[in-house]
Every structure is written in structure tokens, then in C-alpha cells.
Symmetry: C2
Subunit: 498 residues, 2 copies
């Protein structure tokens, strides 16, 4: 089975063939840690987590690099005149960008753990690579594709386009159109030779807090530069896969390509992958018009857009229900459906592990169907990581698993090999590739509490049936102390934490 990946650069699905057999280098643009991570970004990182996991499942050795952008644009009243008494006294009391970086990168890591994404192999920070960024600016200058004005250095898109006919290729834009389209902005950009030029080193004005010495000025690197530097530092000048959100295609990724080509004359990535946007109620999320929700609001249910709380695993399952190149619409209804789907899949996963047979070997239609169904799971995923179709195939297998367990299909029609294959494909895809884990109604990553609570609910039902009120009262009182609510509904009793 061979993997095909849609390459944004060529706009076609291509058979995947890594540069070095058996090894894959993948770079994904990570978060900027100057605010809380957006649920839309989480979708992107979950999508690439599944790509990473699937490459591992196929046996590749993967070096997965996802950066952290910690060079921010905070401004303060830093006295750059020197270490006089006032500025010394104020040091502790002043805004320190790294303090903000620390808070939000911890928050980001915590969210990534909740969503059960694997940590990347390397998570480089822009501030760890200032020297390498200065070196790349110098290389681009040496090659004639950049120019210095007043201590800042700009990438010369026009000159680069004359030499290399690639600028605009990824995003489908023509340099000529870009040059004329963006002319309005020229008044703000009087240091630039062409409106599409972009800064690769920026002279810091006196209020800018993060600043480093360079041959051109005390300043800071342009934002696009860090990814060009960190991807190639850890993966080589040309590597296999570069990913990111679709909103980064232009100008970020276009400029990355230009920088790498401008520095070494070679393209950074063979394959560019872009994850599409997360919408809400059919529209783009936006704080200003209220069409917006945070991860924490989703976990607590504290938002007018949703009727109840959803756990991280329900959200993860929800994200798997759309192909990464499609938009995904977050609605309360879709989340409810995802909750049911997630539970159904996890139930089938439990059931498959309970199947057992003494049949050494059979040749039946059912065995043939199951064997083909398992092959189809891999085939769907091989088709550009099509998670929703892969899930659909797993659900087809789930129907058979449940029927075997309930006796609606004869266990005699399957043998040990078939049962083993079913168990393996569920473990492989549910746990390893899709990264779904059992969690209880409180969202904890362990179903022990869920199981014990089910026991308590069973005992309570029995006590009520027997009119054993002392037991029933004991359960009510002690659960209240543990801040657990029971809710009796049509489909039985459920519980939640307050």
C-alpha cells in the first residue's frame, strides 16, 4: 500500500517517496505564544499529529519539528540609554516578554496534552536561533537578493523573481499582480524598493523590548525568517514535508520558500501540506462579532454556542470527522454527533478485545469481508490521510464486531487470525493513529472513575428496585459530597461533575 499526499505546491496528489529511504523530515509552523491558543490552531496541530502518527504507523522514522514563535512585538518604555539607576530599579517591575512567553507556552503545552497530541521530536524556539537567522540574512545579502536600508534588511522580491520563477507559485499569485495590487501600501513602506518586499531584519525602535545585535543594527529578525532557518537546520536544506494552516500559505510560506531559495538556491520542502480552517456555525470565527469559542469554554460548556460540555477526546474525534483539506464547521449539533460517534467507536474497541475463538482456521465470506475491510482502512488513510473515510471503514468493522459479540453473527465464521487482525487494526488506528483514548465523563484520561460510577449507578438502580432506601440515600449523600450529579434520563442514568 503506498501513501499519496496532496502537494499544495503542485496542486496534485503525489506518491510519497521520502528523500532518504525510511526517514521522513517534517516541519510544521507552530504557535505564537503571546496569547492563548485558538481552537482553530488546535485543529491544525491535531491534523498534523495524525499525519505524524500515521507516518510512524507505516514504519517511517520521522523527525517532526514544530516551532514556537517567541519573538514577539511587545513594546515597553525600555531605557536603552544604559543601566542608570532608574532603569535598574525598574527591571523587575517592567513587562518582560519572556514572562509572557512562559505563561502561554505552558498553556499551549497543557492543551496539546489534553488533546493527546504527541510532542514533536524538536520544538525549536525562534529566540534559540537568532545567530542562525543573522547568518541567513547575510547569505541572502551575499547572494544579492536583499538590501539594507537604515539598519533594516529587506528581501528583494522583484530581483528574486527575475532569477527564480517561483515567487507566488505556492499561493497561486503572480508577482506582477502582487506588485501592482499592493502599491497603495507604499506610503508606509518607504524603505522598500517594491511593495511585495518584506523585512528579514528589522532595526528596533527604542520601545521594542526584544532586540539583539547584528551587523546592520540592534534589532530583531523578520517573522518569516525563523521557519526558513529552523526547518533546514534540523531537517537539511531540502526536506520532505512542510505543513501549516492554510492561512499561512501567503505571505508566510511563500516568503519562506523565497528566503531558502535566496540563501542556498534550493527549495526547502518537496511537499507542502495545508490544513483548512475551522468555522463555527458556518462562518469564520471572530471575537469581535461574538462567533467565537475557546477550548476552555468547550470543556466547561460555558458558552451560548453550545448546550453542554465536551471533553477533549470528543473534540479530537470531531476534528477527525473532516478531511484536513476541508473546512470543518463547529456546531453544537455536530459536537453531539461526535460524542455519539466517539462513544460508539470506543465501545467497539472494547468489544473487539473481548472476542475470542478456538477456531484454528476457517474460510468464510465473513472472514473475507473482514479481511477486505481491514485493507480498506489502510487504503483510505493512504489516500492523503483521509481520516473521515478511514473512520467510516472502522465503523463498518465495528458493526461486525458488535454483531459477533452479541451473537447476531456466528463466531464460528471467524478464526483466530481474523480476530487478531481485527484487534490489531483497532489498536493501530483508534489508539496509535487517531490518538483517541478512553476518558470518563469528567474528561479524565482514564476510565476507572467511569467504571466505578457505573457500578454505583447499578447498585442504586437495584436498591431502588428493592425499596432499599438507606442504600439509596447513602449514595445520594456521598455523591453530593464528591460533587457528582446523577441525571436520570430516557437512556438510563448519566453522571457529571459540578
Amino acid at each position: 500500500m503506498s501513501l499519496n499526499i496532496y502537494n499544495s505546491l503542485t496542486r496534485t496528489k503525489e506518491a510519497f517517496k521520502p528523500i532518504h529511504e525510511g526517514w521522513v523530515g517534517m516541519y510544521v509552523c507552530g504557535p505564537t505564544v503571546y496569547s492563548d491558543v485558538h481552537i482553530g490552531n488546535i485543529r491544525t496541530f491535531v491534523n498534523f499529529d495524525v499525519v505524524y502518527r500515521y507516518l510512524l504507523a507505516k514504519g517511517y522514522k520521522v523527525r517532526y519539528v514544530r516551532n514556537i514563535t517567541d519573538v514577539g512585538h511587545l513594546e515597553g518604555d525600555l531605557d536603552i540609554g544604559g543601566e542608570d539607576k532608574i532603569s535598574k530599579k525598574a527591571r523587575l517591575e517592567k513587562l518582560e516578554p519572556m514572562e509572557i512567553v512562559q505563561r502561554y507556552s505552558n498553556g499551549f503545552q497543557h492543551k496539546m496534552e489534553m488533546f493527546n497530541t504527541l510532542p514533536p521530536s524538536i520544538e525549536p524556539r525562534a529566540t534559540q536561533h537568532i545567530i542562525e537567522q543573522i547568518e541567513m540574512v547575510q547569505e541572502i545579502l551575499d547572494n544579492g537578493y536583499a538590501y539594507e536600508v537604515n539598519g533594516s534588511v529587506y528581501f528583494d522580491t522583484k530581483k528574486f523573481s527575475e532569477a527564480h520563477n517561483v515567487y507566488g507559485k505556492l499561493s497561486g499569485r503572480k508577482i506582477e499582480e502582487l506588485l501592482s495590487e499592493t502599491r497603495d501600501d507604499l506610503k508606509k513602506q518607504d524603505e522598500k524598493r517594491n511593495p511585495t518586499d518584506f523585512a528579514i531584519w528589522i532595526k528596533a525602535d527604542p520601545t521594542h523590548l526584544m532586540r539583539w545585535p547584528s551587523p546592520w543594527s540592534i534589532g530583531f529578525p523578520g517573522w518569516h525568517l525563523e521557519c526558513s532557518v529552523m526547518s533546514t537546520k534540523y531537517l537539511g536544506q531540502t526536506f520532505d514535508i512542510h505543513g501549516g494552516g492554510t492561512d499561512l500559505k501567503f505571505p508566510h510560506h511563500e516568503n519562506e520558500i523565497a528566503q531558502n531559495m535566496g540563501a542556498c538556491g534550493c527549495a526547502p520542502a518537496k511537499i507542502w501540506m495545508h490544513a483548512n480552517m475551522l468555522l463555527m456555525n458556518g462562518r469564520k470565527m471572530s471575537k469581535s462579532d461574538g462567533n467565537h469559542i475557546t477550548p476552555d469554554q468547550l470543556f466547561t460548556g460555558d458558552s451560548p454556542h453550545i448546550s453542554k460540555a465536551y471533553t477533549p477526546m470528543i473534540l479530537r474525534f470531531f476534528m477527525l470527522q473532516a478531511h484536513y483539506r476541508s473546512t470543518l464547521d463547529l456546531t453544537d449539533q455536530a459536537l453531539q454527533a461526535a460524542e455519539k460517534g466517539y462513544k460508539r467507536l470506543m465501545e467497539a474497541y472494547e468489544n473487539v478485545n473481548q472476542l475470542s475463538t478456538n477456531q484454528r482456521r476457517v474460510e468464510t465470506d465473513l472472514k473475507k469481508e473482514i479481511t477486505e475491510g481491514i485493507a480498506a482502512v489502510w487504503e483510505e488513510m493512504d489516500d492523503d490521510f483521509n481520516a473521515p473515510k478511514t473512520l467510516a471503514r472502522l465503523f463498518e468493522l465495528a458493526t461486525r464486531i458488535n454483531a459477533l459479540k452479541d451473537g447476531h453473527l456466528p463466531m464460528a465464521d471467524v478464526d483466530q487470525e481474523t480476530v487478531g487482525m481485527l484487534q490489531e487494526v483497532f489498536k493501530k488506528f483508534v489508539e496509535e493513529v487517531f490518538g483517541l483514548r478512553q476518558e470518563d465523563a469528567a474528561g479524565a484520561a482514564d476510565d476507572t472513575l467511569d467504571r466505578v460510577m457505573q457500578l454505583v449507578i447499578d447498585i442504586r438502580a437495584q436498591a431502588r428496585a428493592n425499596k432499599d432506601w438507606p442504600t439509596s440515600d447513602l449514595i445520594r449523600d456521598q455523591l453530593a459530597e464528591a460533587h457528582i450529579q446523577l441525571k436520570d434520563g430516557k437512556e438510563g442514568t448519566s453522571w457529571s461533575k459540578s
Copy 2:
């Protein structure tokens, strides 16, 4: 109440007076992330976590900086000749130091969370500050306290000692003795002018993997340098508190002082604090002679040195039972005692929150004793963060709380103010200062499962008393499915996860 801190530098307890009123800057030497964090290091970080928490509890605004040493000394077969085909091909397959850094810094953060230590305000990495380290080397060179030999730069301890009579002060060593003591090593150190000199910039030999350009060579900073740079960058040239393990006093902290004095002529920290060692069975821990245990072995009980598993909170409580300047001896017996102590304290904390009275105001001996007892809690902690004595005072209060709850002391003897003060001091010290939280027998940071399991144990006892075997069997079977074992003992029934 005023805080006194033992200053390793002056060898006396000093009244704490921050440089800038209301603000405290504290720097603690963090882990080297090239291997798993040692339980002894965890003791150091827990101790300084309590210092940080206590400063916050006293109302200070604290900037707490704890570094991560990610410049390692890994060697590989890096081809520095250039980007020829072979070295390009090999990039992905080669050992990448940052991949190792990523693995162990994630592991470290995870352990710190398990032990409920607060994240520092800033967690700077050495690799984020290579430029600033090069700048400090240059400053020291400019001031004449360093010299360059073959691309490496050494700190001149003799010349520095002649100008500033501080080298050796912290560790109580005399420079003259050091100079003669260490002369044997000279053969390995032929670039040094004096045996006590140390490298602040090291020219990388061809196999060294982490390397940066500098005015002297392509190389890497000496280990002591990063702390001098990162402490003063974020806290100012002179700041309040510098902490670390006692093993870092010499040469690391001694050299830090020399570097900072050599660069700016001023001492970095006013107060130096050193946390003492964790022993095991009365001896230094050592992998080679088997007298060694890892955090994971402690959590699982999988070690010949212990009879059972201990949760992170039991270990944290255990660490609070010794003053930070004393050695602490880890033995199975001591851990069992800590488990009992932790449970007793948490029980009193639960009990105090259940006390309530309608008494508006009383003047009784009991009220007076309690009020004095609460003041004593703060006083013990003010005496150089004496956690074990503070705990002893809390236990004295616990005895009264339990007696009030059980009716052995009359509730009429306390009023609302007294109850409020008791509740406040327990919340302040148990939760906020000591960072202890409820956890269940499986070590989860939440007592919900514990409470629900207690309910199940109660129902089971009742069912057995009533000879209600179906309920008793249901409980046995469903707990087995949830991988929970019950153990009936003299002190009642306990549970654990398998």
C-alpha cells in the same frame, strides 16, 4: 512578622529586605536536560518551590527564574567540511542534541507537574542566550579578567582575586590553597595560566555537535556562564536571591560570582541559598553501587528499596519534613511515616472546613491558644523557611481541630473569627505554601475517585453485614474489570489500582 533567611555567603541568618520594596527577584539553577531528572534534584526544586510560594504568600511580587541547561556536550561525527552529499543525506539519521533536549525537558516538566511545583515566571534556556553569553565574555575580556588561547577564553582567577577579594568566599576556600591543591591537573590544562582558571568560551573540536560562531572561534560557552547571563538579564545586575543545590556551591556558584563581578564589578545576588542533599538509607545515592531509586520506581513501588508505591504528594510531604539546609534520608520507613503524616494533615484540612459556629465572640483560653498557634505557624516559616517546624505547628492545631469536630473540645469555646482564622491558615499553608493537594490512592490529583471508592467500600461492608451476596458479588466483579483491588485489613478496607 519578618522573614529571616540564612545567607550562605555570610553564613548568618539575615533579615530579608528586598532591593526594591515589594518585589523579589529569585534565580535558581535548573536541570540539565540530557538525562532524566534525579529525585535529589527534585528535592531541590520542591524546596525552592516552597520558598517561592512562601514569598508569594507574604505578598511579594516575585519574578522567579529557573534555567534549563540545554547546551550539552554530545559528540558526533558531524562533518564540518560543508554540506556535501553524504552529510546532507545523513542529517536526519544523525544524533540531534535538540531531540534529546526535547525528550528530557518534556519529562522534567511532567515530573514538576506531578510534584505540584509552580512553573517559574521565566524558564530561560542556555541556547536562547548565546549572543548575551558572547557579550559577557567580551566584557570580561575588556576588563582584563580573561584571556584567549587558541580560540578558547579562560577566566583568570588569579588576576581576579588580586582585584576582588571574593573568590572562594561562598564555598569557604582560599584561592591560594585552591591554586596549590589543583596543580596536579595542570597537565590536562596546558592552555590555562592557573589551575583554578575556567573556560568561559570553548573552541569546539570537530566532533562537538552544538556550536556557534564567536569572535574567538566556532565554539560554545562554558557551563558556568549561562547562569551569570540569564540571572542578570531578567533580574538586573544585582538581585535578591540566588538558589541551587549545595553541590553547586563550588565551583559553579563561585565562578558565577567571579564572572558577574568580572563583567560589571558588582555581585549578582545579595542572598545565596543552598538546598542540602537527599540521601538514601543513610548514604549518598549512587547508581553504581545500587543505592539508587528513580521517581518512577517510587510511584510504582518497583524497587528493592521500598515495600510499596508512594504517590507524588506523599513524596512532597516527605521532603517538607526536613529543613532545606539539612540532609534528608530516604528510607521505606520514613516514607511510610510521611504517608501517615500526609493523610493526617489532609484529614485535619477537611475537618477544619466542616467546623462552623454561631458564636459571635468569645474570650476563652482555647481561643487564645489557637490564635497563638496560628501566629507560631507563620513565625516558624519566617525563620529561614523552616517547613518541618511549621508542619509541627499545623499538627498542634490539627489536634484541636479534630477534638472540636469530635466533641472532645467544646465548640462553645471558639467563635466565628477563630474558626475563620483556622480555615485560612490551613488553606494558606497546606495548599498555597506547601503545595499539597488531595489525591486518590492511584495518585490522581483529585479525590473524586477516592470518595466514590469509599462509597463503594461502605456499600460492600453493609451488603456483607446483611448477607446480601448478589450486591457483594457485583462489586467484586465490576471492580476487577476496572482493575481495582480491595484489601481488607485491621484498619478497614483500602483500595489500589493494578
